[in-house]
């Protein structure tokens, strides 16, 4: 840290949000932008290969592609939207799920090692898309007033309590939903990546820079914990992609629901 040699020990600076501001690669293009575009290419390529020679007896690639597609189609879309009109939304949900999944797993793959959604703007964009979609299909089905009645007046409530319930329901269903949707994805990726940075940098500080040989074993423990946290992150990354897609499907299902 200092030019004075080892007389003053290097001070440990815990990682913070500033560690996520990566320098641009060229022009204004930063690493997450490149990764984001790459993820679209990757997903398109994988599904193109999987579906290129579709046959009754599937090849290995086709089987894997259909398995992944069926997961989103059956366990997310059909269960949440209902078997009547879920098919229209399966392409969006599939694309959403795999886009988030690939972008999250960038955080664990060597050389990429940056979950795109730890920059909040990407998460806001996806949440805005979902917000427009579920409000759009709701208004298209129920009409403008009918849709807001559906979203803000719960069935079986009457009398003066409505004065309290209606603004609350409106807030939670129309205004807060996209914010929590985006923040959940962003904050999970951000906090998880921060945790990884903390354990690896803290470990290397204790081993190499602390100037005390007795701290070295603790640093090794920190590295082991970083490995453990990586496994936890692998779970969280999948779960966040699943939750984002599931909630999108639930919101669409709720917007399409008939009066209860």
């Amino acid at each position: 840290m200092t030019t004075e040699g080892r007389t003053v020990l290097a001070e440990f600076h815990p990682p913070g949000p500033a560690d996520f501001d990566l320098p641009p690669i060229f022009g204004d293009v930063t690493k997450p932008m490149v990764l984001y575009v790459l993820s679209a290419v990757l997903i398109f390529g994988c599904f193109y290969i999987a579906s290129r020679r579709a046959a009754v007896v599937p090849s290995k690639a086709q089987f894997a592609g259909e398995y992944a597609y069926n997961f989103v189609r059956n366990s997310i879309a059909r269960d949440s939207i209902g078997s009547h009109d879920f098919m229209k939304f399966v392409p969006y949900l599939t694309a959403l799920f795999f886009l988030i999944l690939v972008n999250n797993y960038y955080g664990l793959i060597p050389f990429f090692q940056f979950p795109t959604f730890s920059h909040s703007g990407y998460a806001y964009g996806l949440a805005a898309l979902t917000w427009i979609l579920y409000n759009g299909v709701g208004i298209a089905k129920h009409g403008f007033l009918g849709y807001f009645k559906l979203q803000s007046v719960p069935g079986g409530v009457s009398g003066p309590i409505l004065l309290l319930i209606v603004p609350l329901e409106f807030m939670s269903n129309i205004l807060v939903r996209p914010v929590t949707l985006a923040l959940r994805l962003f904050a999970n990726m951000f906090a998880g990546h921060l945790l990884l940075i903390l354990f690896t940098l803290g470990g290397s500080y204790l081993v190499f820079d602390s100037g005390n040989i007795l701290y070295a074993p603790v640093g090794v423990v920190a590295w082991l914990l970083a490995v453990a946290v990586s496994f936890l992150e692998a779970l969280v990354m999948f779960l966040q992609a699943y939750v984002f897609t599931l909630l999108t499907a639930q919101y669409i299902g709720g917007a399409l629901a008939d009066e209860h």
Partner: protein, 67 residues
């Protein structure tokens, strides 16, 4: 070592969602233990409840950095 009091506040605030998530999965495990064939239905509900309880912790961490 410097830090922010916000982070201590966030640690305290995370207790609530932590207990909530624990309760949700306890109920989920109970339900699956009693009726294993209901697992796929319960899983969706449990993950949904987990996501909603977690939203509080998420709002907390966002505010901890913003405030």
């Amino acid at each position: 070592m410097d830090g922010s009091l916000n982070m201590i506040g966030y640690g305290l605030a995370a207790i609530g969602p932590g207990v909530g998530i624990g309760l949700i999965f306890a109920a989920y495990i109970n339900g699956v233990a009693r009726q294993p064939e209901a697992q796929s239905r319960l899983q969706t509900i449990a993950i949904l409840g987990f996501a909603l309880a977690e939203a509080l912790a998420i709002i907390g961490i966002a505010l901890a950095f913003v405030l």
